[in-house]
């Protein structure tokens, strides 16, 4: 469209000058005159009836301004909204229970807030927490997913009379027939346990009520400022225009910062208005382990039916999903598990059933991958076991089952999380697998390197797995593009940014249309005053949806530019081109006009703007894809296991990835490298350990182990670009991909390294301790 290339280049990031010099605004950087500080008293018990709360001593402490409990909230006390309604699936059972601002009757997970203290400093606020006297009657806790459904299990939400949050069956074809016709049935049980999102920056909220302007401003670490603004206006009885929510720079979200509404997000604005003082609450790391949503416990009983030559005839999967104390996100995660399980494979018959269980643990909402890793883990492990039993090479069995490039669009029939049938838009799976085989040196490793190292007593293994990821779902996002009289361009969109590089990639999208230097394009995200339509950053959809909206707005502005330039230069639009912030005549480039000058002309002080036109070089556009676009890829790794200590070292890690068209390879690779780090954490380091009273035993970074730079290898990457037909940029999402297949690849690689022990890995996360047990038990059973 323009003469210069803005797509496919490794532009450095527009936001980094601010971030690297410490000049970026984070919520905790907001300091306001007269600001007070908030701390929360949280339940020590996972499940307990609340009998009384005595706040008198806390109120009397010098420096304490207010103490609130549920009773003080009056009609403002409301459970949160059900964010995502379940898709219309026949026979669906769905029991909703959403989180409350402060507990009234009982605590349903440890860390649930009981009281809110407002004081002159956070120190005093925390001192006052100790003054509050709480009387609670502990109840038996629901922790284990299977025990939760026993008839004598304690019930968490009495109104439902059961801990079953939902029950869903989806089917494609006829699995029973596949089962009858199969030459081999592989049947196993799989576990995937809980972890935190682990964002570098914890959550935080600052709320300020300006009584003169009658305006509420909220700085919030949310991934979804616009829905927060709309919800707060409704709850507080304000016009939406009276509420401004700013999600400034945010230090990572990974899904956990889009749980609407967190109690703190509801309470601080309310109290700031009541007290007419600005309030700040910054979550500390210990709170984060209890109060910020988590993910990933599922138990699958799955079977794979295959023909003699290793073709998949069908999959049967029945699983339990832990939603924690509440289920505000509906069925998003288990449906993702269900849909992602099919992977890049041709699966003619599929029976999939799940039960969602309430437990006395922190609420579960999507965290990077959002249920997808479970599906990939189950399918890839089943294929590994099948390959072994059939004596087929593990790469070969995958090749035999991949969808071919002319199978698209491919309809998997069952419903996806956006309530539309699961249809893959485009893909090119075989070349990706072959490229990964090549990059990791599969043939040579299996033929030469591994036997040689094994002979020398070393335990090395390789893992290679495929996956797909549904990304970039609707409903929509919007953007406004404005050319200012200086010739600089402003772009505003509603999604929040948590480190992805939106300021750069959206600038590239606009530059591709307007041919303006990237440092003259200024992107604003996450400020409802700048842009107030949209949903948020989630589901690997920022560039797909908001990026496409930026594109559409830029195209509209370009049209205005060409119209004005045609008048100004007396040349037909077709004979004009945009270059370096100017419009010039194709055959006579010395005849040109600056975009800034056109912006002035578009907003004249005299004369008349023609009816039907708008002033300014500005356009707003919206984009909503029909459905999600399906990204895909292959991960391969080589590990070495010290069989004596059961420690594992990842020697190499290869990712071949297809997220459609790549706008900025550096940003895509950053997302993948970070995702892989997250995946490695989930596979070998991170695990939330709850005891049977629902107490979290490792609520600190001393005992909850995030992988560090020394534990994560530099990922070797290759891109395959299969454009999506569903958006004008041809892009697919990439934010979550790196974290999705890591566990499956790790399990295969470790199992391969320990081939002499002949053990099977059917769980994630692993740990040295767990591997030691598995090696020991394998030895004992031989």
């Amino acid at each position: 469209m323009t003469s210069r290339r803005f797509f496919g280049e490794r532009f450095t990031r527009n936001e980094d000058a601010r971030l690297l010099r410490g000049l970026a605004l984070f919520v905790d950087d907001v300091h306001l005159d007269g600001m007070l500080h908030v701390a929360f008293l949280r339940s020590d018990y996972a499940h307990a009836r609340l009998i009384s709360v005595d706040t008198a001593a806390a109120r009397a402490r010098p420096g304490v301004v207010a103490v609130y409990t549920a009773d003080d909230l009056g009609a403002y006390w409301q459970p949160g909204p059900l964010l995502v309604a379940p898709p219309p699936i026949d026979g669906l059972v769905f029991n909703a229970a959403t989180q409350v601002p402060l507990i009234k009757d009982k605590a349903r997970h440890a860390g649930e807030p009981i009281a809110m203290v407002v004081a002159e400093s956070r120190y005093v606020a925390e001192d006052a927490l100790v003054d509050i006297v709480v009387d609670m009657d502990p109840l038996d806790a629901v922790v284990d997913l299977e025990a939760a459904l026993e008839p004598d299990a304690p019930v968490i939400h009495e109104q439902h009379g059961t801990n079953l949050a939902s029950h869903v069956v989806q089917q494609k074809g006829d699995y029973q027939r596949a089962h009858r016709e199969a030459a081999l049935i592989v049947k196993r049980r799989f576990h995937y346990d809980r972890g935190v999102a682990g964002a570098l920056e914890n959550r935080g909220v600052v709320a300020q009520w300006d009584a003169r302007c009658e305006e509420l401003t909220v700085w919030d670490t949310t991934q979804a400022p616009i829905p927060i603004r709309s919800g707060l206006a409704r709850m507080l009885g304000l016009l939406e225009s009276q509420v401004r929510v700013i999600a400034p720079f945010v230090g990572g979200g990974f899904g956990s910062k889009i749980m609407m509404f967190y109690p703190e997000e509801v309470l601080l604005p309310w109290a700031a208005m009541r007290l007419n003082r600005p309030l700040k609450w910054i979550e500390d790391r210990q709170e984060n382990f209890y109060a910020t949503t988590q993910e990933r416990l599922q138990i699958h009983d799955a079977e794979l039916a295959l023909s003699e030559d290793g073709h998949i005839l069908g999959v049967h999967d029945v699983f339990l999903h832990d939603t924690g104390a509440y289920n505000p996100y509906g069925l998003t995660i288990p449906i993702n598990s269900q849909c992602t399980l099919l992977g890049p494979y041709d699966v003619p018959n599929y029976y999939t059933e799940f039960r969602v269980i309430f437990t006395n643990k922190t609420t579960v909402t999507p965290v990077r991958g959002a249920g997808r890793q479970h599906g990939v883990f189950v399918m890839e492990r089943l294929l590994d076991f099948a390959a072994k039993e059939l004596g087929i090479d593990r790469v070969e069995i995958r090749k035999r089952n991949l969808l071919s490039s002319d199978d698209f669009p491919h309809n998997h029939v069952i419903l996806f999380q956006d309530s539309a049938p699961l249809v893959y838009d485009s893909g090119n799976y075989l070349p990706a697998l072959e490229k990964a085989v090549d990059l990791i040196g599969y043939d040579e490793f299996v033929r030469e390197e591994q036997p040689r190292l094994r002979a020398a007593g070393r335990h090395v293994g390789l893992g290679i797995v495929s996956y797909i990821e549904g990304t970039g779902i609707g409903p929509y996002e919007g953007a406004r593009v404005t050319v200012e009289p200086s010739g600089q361009v402003r772009v505003a969109t509603g999604v929040g940014t948590q480190g992805q590089g939106h300021y750069t990639v959206f600038a590239q999208v606009v530059a591709e249309v307007l041919d303006v230097d990237l440092d003259r394009i200024h992107v604003t995200t996450g400020d409802t005053r700048e842009f107030h339509w949209g949903t948020g950053t989630f589901a690997s959809r920022g560039v797909v949806v908001a990026g496409s909206a930026c594109h559409e707005a830029a195209v509209a502005v370009r049209k205005k530019i060409l119209g004005l330039a045609s008048d100004a230069l007396g040349v037909a639009e077709n004979d004009l081109e945009l270059e370096g912030g100017r419009v010039r005549v194709k055959d006579a480039p010395e005849r040109a006009v600056d975009l800034g000058e056109l912006a002035v002309r578009a907003n004249p002080l005299r004369g008349a703007v023609t009816p039907g036109t708008e002033p300014g070089l500005e356009a707003t556009a919206y984009f909503g894809p029909d459905r999600g676009s399906t990204a895909s890829g292959v991960h391969a790794m080589i590990v070495e296991v010290d069989r004596e200590t059961a420690m594992v070292e990842i020697k190499r890690y290869v990712v071949v990835h297809d997220s459609g068209r790549v706008i900025n390879p550096m940003l895509v690779e950053g997302q993948i490298q970070g995702g892989v780090a997250h995946g490695i954490g989930n596979a070998f380091y991170e695990q939330l350990v709850y005891d049977d009273t629902g107490q979290l035993l490792n609520a600190s970074f001393m005992d909850y182990l995030l992988p560090t730079a020394t534990d994560v290898p530099r990922v070797e990457m290759a891109h395959i670009e299969t454009p999506s037909p569903l958006n004008p940029l041809g892009v697919k999402g990439v934010g979550e991909a790196g974290a999705i297949p890591t566990g499956a690849a790790f399990a295969q690689a470790v199992e391969d390294a320990l081939a002499e022990d002949d053990l099977e890995i059917r769980e994630i996360p692993l740990s040295p301790n767990r591997l030691f047990e598995m090696i020991r038990d394998a030895r004992a059973t031989r």
């Binding site: 120190y123 059961a646 005992d703 020394t710 040295p768 030691f772």
Partner: protein, 294 residues
């Protein structure tokens, strides 16, 4: 995560610090590098009424020879110990062990005395002290005494330090000839507290038999654990591979009684004692045979 209120003093001399300690008694805590104390205060697990900050006490920050021995002031940062040529020469085991402590940021603040006084059973420095038969020099307002390390660690986070005493100096005796040493550990990530750590010091006689063996483990008991049985098995013997493995096996079976926690079961820790014990003994023996003391 804010500490409870406390009073704060920053004495300029050890005498002043000892006076404050005597005055405030058990309600007071000494603040060294703060790398263990401050987190426990922020979690409100420790709520001292008075904090006596030792960071202005330049007299406690030194590394110097004392005859053939080595003296290190309690307030010497772990990072200074790590980088000291004198430590590398005279206390090579200590030199080898210090980089395993946390991360550079931690070692920049954390002190040698703080770690020893804190007596975390997972810590490296108590293990080294026990393996090297250190003497701990302590003072109260009136007296000074020196405690042999075998009497210093008395239980979980407990030492022989009295409530009014400050650890002022660490003395490491000279390394005898034909002595080898080694330190190693298994941790989940680099810089984490060890699942099991081990130090070995082996002195050989002229016939290549073990004259003196010190094998010490972290994370398998209330404090650093000296493996008596393993040492007894090796003493007077030629430490060949089989003997070394047998000794480490004896340590795993008889010398340690490891705890189970979320990171490692007792059985896994025993396995690590066997593996790491073998590795450090073998390396110490090899170094002893090469006759090197540095």
């Amino acid at each position: 995560m804010k500490p409870a209120p406390f009073e704060y003093y920053r004495p300029e001399t050890v005498d002043e610090a000892l006076g404050l300690l005597a005055e405030h008694g058990s309600g007071a805590k000494l603040l060294a590098g703060g790398q263990s104390l401050v987190p426990t205060m922020n979690f409100r697990l420790a709520q001292p009424a008075v904090l006596i900050d030792l960071n202005a006490l330049a007299e406690l920050e030194h590394i110097e020879p004392d005859g053939d021995a080595l003296r290190i002031g309690a307030m010497t940062r772990q990072r200074q110990v790590e980088r000291s040529a004198l430590v590398a020469e005279r206390a090579p085991l200590l030199h080898e062990a210090v980089p395993f402590i946390g991360h550079p940021q931690i070692r920049n603040r954390g002190t040698i005395g703080g770690s020893i006084a804190h007596a975390d059973p997972a810590a490296e420095l108590p293990v080294v002290m026990l393996a090297r038969r250190a003497r701990l020099h302590v003072r109260n307002r009136r007296d000074a005494r020196s405690i042999p390390v075998d009497e210093f660690f008395t239980g979980l986070f407990a030492t022989a330090l009295g409530p009014e005493e400050i650890l002022v100096d660490i003395e490491l005796p000279a390394v005898p000839p034909s002595t080898g040493w080694a330190f190693d550990e298994v941790a989940r990530r680099h810089g984490d507290f060890a699942l099991v750590g081990a130090a070995a010091v082996v002195t050989l006689d002229d016939s290549g038999r073990c004259r003196d063996v010190r094998l010490v483990f972290s994370s398998v008991g209330d404090g650093p654990v000296l493996a008596h049985e393993a040492a007894r098995q090796l003493e007077g013997e030629i430490p060949d591979d089989a003997a070394v493995r047998a000794a480490a096996g004896a340590a795993a079976e008889r010398d340690v009684d490891p705890p189970s926690d979320i990171h490692a079961s007792a059985a896994y820790r025993r396995q690590l004692v066997r593996v790491i014990g073998t590795r450090v003994l073998a390396r110490a023996v090899e170094r002893a045979r090469n006759g090197s003391v540095s």
